[in-house]
Symmetry: C2
């Protein structure tokens, strides 16, 4: 089979996160995938838990890919996520590390960032 | 004990890489650390192997930290490395993922990049 286009999966992922639709994001993950956000916290496992995680994000979300590096079926990428709630914007630029299966589904995600990285405008 | 300053370790690491001194870079690693560069290749293990890896880099090297995110004793960071050989510059912007011990020594490094990411000027 053809190798999956990992860069395209990352772009689809960021678009789904911005949509605010937890189920749409979870659909990009493999059934038994894990999500650790931020790194060091207890991982969420499986599509239901992953859907609930993204569905719980509040406010108007925009995302932008900054820098992506793909090595086979693994990738690391930095991105900007802006969450607008009322007149306030919360800005974070995490670095996510993901692994993928042969079909291009995300099998694990680990988000590197700390609350102190957040900028409030 | 005080938590190590991971950001400072990363800065020291990039300075040591630019020095071209393999032993100086290896000294920032724990004795039994692993180095996987690029991700997907066979890891190097231990300071001797790590020293040989960095000592084998040719040309005049400059490094610049672009974006670093620290979560406890793990970190991900993008950086630019320019290797100048004669009149030609080879430019790569990898994303490295590192883990550290309590003393701030690097216990593992994984470098996300692909040869196709390289720019030659």
């Amino acid at each position: 089979m053809t190798a999956p286009d990992i860069k395209a999966v990352i772009e689809n992922y960021l678009a789904a996160v911005a949509s605010g639709d937890g189920a749409a994001v979870a659909a990009l993950y493999a059934a038994d995938a894990t999500l650790e956000d931020p790194v060091g916290s207890e991982p969420h496992r499986g599509r239901d838990a992953i859907s609930a995680f993204y569905g719980g994000l509040q406010g108007e979300i925009t995302t932008e890919l900054l820098h992506a590096r793909v090595s086979g079926l693994e990738a690391a990428f930095s991105f900007r996520v802006v969450t607008k709630a009322g007149d306030t914007s919360y800005i974070v630029e995490p670095i996510d590390v993901m692994t993928f299966d042969d079909a291009g589904q995300i099998t694990s995600m680990r988000a590197f960032w700390a609350p102190t990285d957040m900028v409030v405008e």
